[in-house]
Symmetry: C2
Subunit: 209 residues, 2 copies
């Protein structure tokens, strides 16, 4: 319902073009597997870009009657909140904890981080997802897919309908995307990284930059 | 610059009235010191209310030439991002960590949590705050003031000008507010809790509810 009021950002560039441009300009390739986007997504946030990302998620899932957006703290919160604002639906962020002693009244899932080589639990209160919800799961990065699969697990525990997974940046050279599609879940990644070889960002279907 | 495009929420109610109404309706008084607002601020987020809160912060600091908003993960991110969107400035969220081994290229401060009885470091990359910034520090709750003082410490380490501190809910019966004002920092709290006695929310200057 907000769509009419949102300013068009830099004329006719699409949301995905804006995002890719930002990644090319400000992303730092730290290794063949690590792209650092701390300057606009993971530590410093560009709210105007987040709004554009929110618009794009909403457009891609406009055929779904989404009642709630679910994400994970912390970097998922900004894009998820922008999508929630546009749709006029609540946003729930799963909390990360080393290990849960009190799992009462929580849906929780174990998420293994390959980069940090540690497992964390993520959890959502049972108050905030139900079997009447159609949820859109949003996260900043998709690599090995463990966080997204954790969110899917939680949504399934709640009996919610899963509209799909919306990802800001997918490392298409890692297995997360395939795992989600194999689980029969719709995946929309706004920027898909083909590779980070030779210190260059290469998007799927484009030349290396 | 977005101010003209933002829909007026529920007619003529002020942002503060909307927030207080939400606290009265959905806040849960767990003890004389604890108000749970997980349903719209700390776990589930009401994005439309967050936008109203962002508008109010921007209005209150409209005499300041704010270049950056600084908050703490995770619950500060949504209101801070909304304020950043309206102002068109970046938002930086300080990260919480148990203890920092790598403090290289980081501004960090120790923050003691009285509720959890533990100390954490919060940190911000030196890339994202500088002595050319005028920062607005935003957080969801103000109680003992340790988190806000940590943010002030970090902003001072960076040599930034501090426009002030914006808080969604202040527990005015705890010492944080006084500590911040004593430090000579301007404080704007949108909802000020006078007390939570007898299971009731009482705002400063109002009857118990």
């Amino acid at each position: 319902m907000y769509a009419f009021f949102i300013r068009t950002f830099e004329g006719s560039k699409t949301q995905v073009e804006l995002l890719k441009e930002k990644i090319r300009q400000d992303g730092k390739v730290l290794s063949e597997e690590v792209l650092k986007v701390d300057s606009f997504l993971n530590h410093q946030i560009d709210p105007v870009l987040m709004q554009e990302i929110g618009k794009e998620f909403v457009a891609r899932f406009s055929d779904q009657n989404i009642t709630k957006i679910v994400t994970i703290e912390s970097s998922g919160i900004a894009p998820a909140t922008m999508a929630g604002l546009i749709l006029g639906v609540p946003v729930v962020f799963a909390r990360k904890r080393k290990s849960l002693t009190l799992t009462d009244h929580l849906y929780s899932a174990k998420v293994h981080s390959f980069t940090k080589n540690e497992s964390n639990d993520i959890s959502v209160s049972k108050d905030f997802i139900s079997n009447e919800d159609t949820v859109l799961l949003i996260d900043d990065f998709l690599a090995n897919g463990q966080a997204a699969l954790g969110l899917i697990d939680i949504a399934e525990q709640a009996g919610a309908k899963i509209a799909g997974v919306g990802i800001v940046i997918e490392k298409a050279f890692q297995p997360g995307g395939e795992l989600i599609r194999k689980a029969g879940i719709r995946l929309e990644s706004l920027a898909e990284l083909q590779s980070l070889q030779d210190g260059k960002v290469q998007f799927v279907g484009e030349e290396a930059f």
